[in-house]
Amino acid sequence: MSSVLKLHQSQPRWVIFGLLALGLALLPFLVDVGLGRSWVRLLDLALLYVMLALGLNIVVGYAGLLDLGYVAFYALGAYVYAWLASPHFGLHLPFWAILPLGAALAGLFGVLLGTPTLRLRGDYLAIVTLGFGEIIRIFLNNLNAPINITNGPQGINLIDPVRLGNVSLSQPHELLGFTFTGVHLTYYLFLLLTLAVIFISMRLEDSRIGRAWVAIREDEVAAAATGINTRNLKLLAFAMGATFGGLAGGLFASFQGFISPESFNLMESIMILCMIVLGGMGHIPGVIFGALLLTLLPEALRYTGDWQRNLFGQIYVDPADLRMLLFGLALVAVMLYRPAGLIPSARRRQEFADAKG
């Protein structure tokens, strides 16, 4: 994966890299002109999901630990941001102070969840993490009494947008003759952080740690026998994944301005899992593809409602229902026919092929 980054190797890569950078920089404007500004907002959301999916990818894709409670870390990051930058406690700390704090707290909870579950593997781990996710959600939903910590089901409103100096990311700004609206500025912030997450993921994949994770995923006993400290490495996977989740949560809170526990339900965890499974577990381009696909798909499916109305005069299958049905079918079909995902990594494909033999 480091191929894109090893820039000194050959000239054409510079060109590709430059074009990619330019394309990403111009993308919000192209989308704005081509599709409308609400699609830029969707793009922001998609970047958020790319971060989340890459975080979960570390746990599920690299280390092979099926985590069904990932949304808990996302929620923790979001609530930390809301607590420290909203009228709820009257605190308004700057985002660069809160985001790392939220990410760190989520990481801590990752270790907290990881420690007792180290002995568990596979389906048992899945169930425990699922339970953990639900417990966190239930607590967030109920901790408005006796002391009001989370404001319960009402959620926390009026969360501060990200501010750089006196530039708020919820208002439009003029710069060099261009008007940068809030969603455009948010895009650049999210893009920057997403690139950082991608970079960290790439470096991890190629590092000793990454190879150790793969070893654990493929055969934990053999990995331990070769001297890999499986306990620490599994905890590290949980912590890293949770950290990214917490970071994305903080960004989500600032972006939406309002959070409530219903945004962090089990379905959200399963959605993120779908992203990495469909895209290709353990493979960064695959995961990114999966995250983008599943974030933008519901919007595309909306048009099926219009088609149905035009064709039959009424809507037979609600697009929102179609979406979940398609997800379910896709999960089964991908596992049966392309178990390594739509854009698989070479190693992962080999692993599944070996297993079949």
């Binding site: 169930i127 339970g131 006796p146 049966l336």
Partner: protein, 309 residues
């Protein structure tokens, strides 16, 4: 005292339902070491199919006695669920029997989502009332109340449990199942039709799920496409609590979980002076599950195994 007795009855009835669903999980897990996430959805399907039959029958022949109508619902729901279980096993699980462990688990989640959405397309998103075909007999025991339906649930669960133990312990199929659970390879070398045994396990489990689904919807008076998910999750917790793969464990786990929830929700608010309350009812279930998995992964009645992988 009457309150305590009432909570005991509540817990036992709730626990019986959990136990019946837990049996399906535990049988499949015992043989395949697979969490059949879709099992809760089969329960829901059973309820929905039975409801449609009962509704149609109540309209077509209003004079029929309630037990007969309910029986007709069951007679249709059970084979439908059996077929469904067979189909799921054949399409979604069998091809992945040698794939990495993650794969069947993910298809199981996929199947669960598919079933929910199919049910939603067929029966809609609204809650569906269960026709009032059963007599609403209510008895008072020492100040506590118990209804005919509750008694029926308790008796039915007990008799199904006994039947199942007899099948597993005394029949040829049961012996084959136990052999397959111990080692699929050795069993097949001994001439056991392993695929047939696994299919039979799914069929039996699905039939139990159908019965449980009908019981649940008759008891609460409604059915909904989402009803299977949480029920399945709770039942799975019950199976783990008792010791997964162990029939007696599923029964014990189910009853225990029912009692924990009932007494937990009933008393914790007063015991903690309102600090914790019935809003943490679901937390108890998950907490027990996590605690058991962490400290005694083999469950209360399961054999002590160093690592469940």
């Amino acid at each position: 005292m009457d309150i305590f007795l009432q909570q005991l009855i509540n817990g036992l009835v709730l626990g019986s339902v959990y136990a019946l669903v837990a049996l399906g999980y535990t049988m499949v897990y015992g043989i395949l070491e697979l969490i059949n996430f879709a099992h809760g959805e089969i329960t829901m399907m059973g309820a929905m199919v039975a409801l449609s039959v009962i509704g149609a029958l109540a309209l077509a022949a209003p004079g029929l006695p309630g037990v007969l109508v309910l029986g007709a619902g069951l007679v249709v729901a059970i084979p439908v669920c059996m077929a469904l279980g067979l189909l799921i096993e054949r399409v979604a699980y069998r091809p992945l029997r040698h794939a990495p462990r993650l794969a069947p688990l993910i298809t199981a989640i996929g199947v669960s989502i598919i079933l929910q959405n199919i049910a939603m397309l067929i029966w809609g998103k609204q809650y569906i009332p269960f026709p009032a075909v059963l007599p609403e007999g209510r008895h008072e025991v020492l100040g506590a109340h118990i209804t005919d339906v509750q008694i029926a649930i308790l008796l039915l669960t007990m008799s199904i449990m006994i039947m199942l133990v007899l099948v597993v312990m005394k029949t040829r199929l049961g012996r084959a199942m136990r052999a397959t659970a111990q080692s699929r390879q050795v069993a097949s070398l001994m001439g056991v039709d392993v695929n047939g045994v696994i299919a039979a396990t799914f069929v039996i489990g699905s039939a139990l799920a159908a019965v449980a689904g009908v019981m649940v919807s008759a008891y609460y008076g409604l059915a909904h496409y989402y009803m299977g998910f949480l029920l399945g999750l709770k039942a799975f917790s019950a199976a783990v609590l008792g010791g997964i793969g162990n029939l007696g464990g599923a029964m014990l786990g189910g009853l225990l979980l029912g009692l924990i929830e009932s007494f937990g929700a009933g008393y914790i608010g007063d015991l903690t002076g309102g600090f914790l309350g019935s809003h943490y009812q679901d937390v108890f279930a998950f907490f027990v599950l996590i605690a058991v998995l962490v400290f005694r992964p083999s469950g209360l009645l399961g054999a002590r195994i160093v690592e469940r992988a």
